[in-house]
Amino acid sequence: MKFIYQTWWKVLAVVMIFYTLIAGLLLGVPRLEILHETIRNTYFHVPMWIAMFTVFTISVIYSIKYLQTGKEEYDLISVECVNTGMFFFVVGLITGMLWAKYTWGEYWSNDPKQNSAAIAFLLYCAYGVLRNSIDEEQKRGKISAIYNIFAFPVMVVLIMVLPRLTDSLHPGNGGNPAFGKLDMDNRMRVVLYPAFIAWALMGVWIATLRYRIRLIEFKKNAIN
């Protein structure tokens, strides 16, 4: 756990995001119909989801650990990871909607990808409701940990699997080529992969800050 108090990886994340901001707007990108310059959104829209997946994954790991050991700290980590993930979820949805307006024509066109992302969002909202509705600490920790462990794979299926089985406008779905060989070249990968790492670290950083605040509150309550 010493890792979360260190500074080097936070600096790394910030430096890498600066790099993606500058290189992402100035380096060359493929010239494509419909997308035009909005192809650069890839550098900022997709990393939001990567950050979300990262913190949600950490949350599940700590939910499992909590169930194994019963240590309250693990429960706090898992909650704050979900809270941080929700932020990136919302930002990812909004940026996706804006991008959709100028490429698909509507903010919300009831596309399978959009709909199942919305359902997954509700799934995690239910987590918050469930958690806040239980007063007793251990019960709350256990039930929300179990819910979290089941919610995570459902969310992955909803966002990553189901839209791929049907027709969707979103790249990578239903016979629609992903940002693969056709519309992405190595110029973009040079920016995109650092952006993934940087925003994942950023998400972890925010989650650790929230966890540390929560831990102080928790200890204070325990003493009183």
């Binding site: 500074t7 936070k10 910030v14 995001i17 600066f18 707007l25 100035l26 540390r212 102080i216």
Partner: protein, 76 residues
Amino acid sequence: MKKLILLAAILFCFLAANAQNGQDVTMGDVMRSEGKIYVVVVTMVIVFAGLAIYLFSMDRRLKKIEKENNETKHLL
């Protein structure tokens, strides 16, 4: 009086700057090339720099509080 002179000086600067408009002067070249995209880049960098500084300062404050808490625990 001083204020008036200052005002006059500022006005004069403005006029002088305005007078240049007719000529085809290109300056601050990097910031104006390629559809002024560099301006957007700098704006985004400033916004993110602010956010990063904000996060780092939160981190530092937390570290301070954590240290204090550990000290009090040690004293108890």
